[in-house]
Amino acid sequence: MKNFLKTVLTNRPGWLKVSLVCAVFISCGLIQSFRAKNAEPYVLQYPANFGSRFVIPEGNPITKEGIYLGRLLFYEKALSANNNISCESCHQQKLAFTDGKAFSTGTDGSLTARNSMSLANLLWVRNFFWDGRSPGLEDQAKFPLTDPHEMGQPLSESARKLNNTTLYPPLFAKAFCSSVITEDQILKALSQFERTLISAGSNYDRYLAGNYQPTAQQFRGMQLFESGPDPKSGIRGANCGHCHGGVKTFKELFHNNGLDSVATDIGREQFTGQSTDRARFRVPTLRNIMLTAPYMHDGRFSTIEQVLDHYNAHIQQSPTLSAFLQDISNDPGGKNLALTKDEKADLTAFLGMLTDSLFTTNPAFSNPHPVLNP
């Protein structure tokens, strides 16, 4: 035995190194599964009518430690190249995680190409961004973190910076069982936090649960929102529900909604390479819509009235214009929706029911860092 050890140590150093490396890997794997079991699982709370058509990646179960870490990172300016912006800069809680601007300003002062999207109910989103190019939150987070017009910092640099803090290494160790912070863990923690951003506490939710009586105007707006126009049967409608129907107020769809006859931003075509996808953009959630102006992928409309006017009377023809926005009217044989001024006001009143102040003030979503200059 003594001789054998001696042989291994002296004559076969390569063999020894390999075994040592193996041993480290195996024990790390063991510790990882042990710790993952020890991190406290978090159970997502949402109303049954939202359904459970979502996937949480196997490698990133939601834990209390992971969510808290993700929340810290969401508000962490060290993740930007110039330490001057965080995710929050373009996604402010009080504005349902938008920023009130047509385009957002990145770490180097340049502007983004598209309007900052609300982060409500991302748990149910299957294709992220206005063009749907990203299939999951973990993948999605890479873009804003590294895009030169957004936070502009390679993930490797973000990991390096966080490793050099006193705050983060123990928190990552708790959430992911690792002594070294990795790029993947940053994305995973952010995703865990984002999955908890559930907006289901609006008056509309209360109405659906039988706990809120809409005003007459809100009720008329709701009817218009949900109905397709059928002048022959005397049914007036705005047909919003065709794309924004259901309790989540979005469907996983991409449509050209007639903003331009010749699009300057080709939208989903850029990602799919299919010319039939020209100027198609994601159908976004209408949750908290009164807080998320300006509207559309380029923030061209600053008020909800302008949005309603667009759908009502200014749809632009183009080869990829959504079939659901053509030849649909409250007038027999009409070419546009032809809603009245009062009907548009009714719709606006209903849209106001989608504002969820519990969501925009929920302390669990707020900045967890000590704020020096409030």
Partner: protein
């Protein structure tokens, strides 16, 4: 020494992979229909590829309330070509298989395999490519499903881009 060689190889392989990925995402200008999932032969079909199949047509009332003649191929034939468990093989656990049909706008509908199989139903579900003798227009084609016995045409999915066969789990 051998370590360096290996990493060079892997770099070359990753570059090749990247190139393939980039190429495939830009090379799809002609709309294709993909059949994947629980199949023996995954298919990528263009409109022209359907000419070799038996042509079928249905005269049905569409959403506009008017009658139109849709022509194309019986969906079951496409599934058979892809090697889906149809006919005598559609028994046991295979009865828990379904088709998830996706459109290019993201719309999705579902059919169970048994709903499509002629051993179970007389209805011929059509993968249509023409309407009243004309190729289906933008926003509707090049492929659309026509299910005559569905009273509501919500599953007559337009712009079909993919059909995935899967087991309910």
């Amino acid at each position: 020494m051998s370590k360096t060689k290996f990493s060079k190889q892997s770099i070359a392989a990753s570059l090749l992979l990247l190139l393939c990925a980039a190429f495939s995402s830009f090379a799809q200008n002609t709309a294709t229909l993909s059949i994947s999932g629980e199949v023996t032969t995954p298919l990528e079909l263009k409109s022209a590829d359907l000419a070799s199949f038996k042509q079928v047509s249905h005269k049905v009332k569409d959403r506009d309330g008017k009658e139109h003649e849709f022509s194309g191929v019986a969906l079951i034939e496409i599934l058979e070509k892809a090697g889906v468990t149809t006919g005598a093989k559609l028994r046991g656990e295979n009865l828990a298989k379904y088709l998830l049909i996706s459109a290019s706008d993201g719309y999705e509908v579902l059919y169970s395999l048994a709903e499509i199989d002629p051993d179970f139903t007389d209805q011929v579900i059509l993968l249509a490519t023409t309407k009243d003798g004309q190729p289906l227009a933008n926003g509707e084609g090049p492929f659309r499903i026509i299910t005559p016995n569905d009273k509501k045409p919500a599953r007559w999915i337009r712009e079909v881009r993919s059909i995935k066969v899967a087991f309910a789990k």
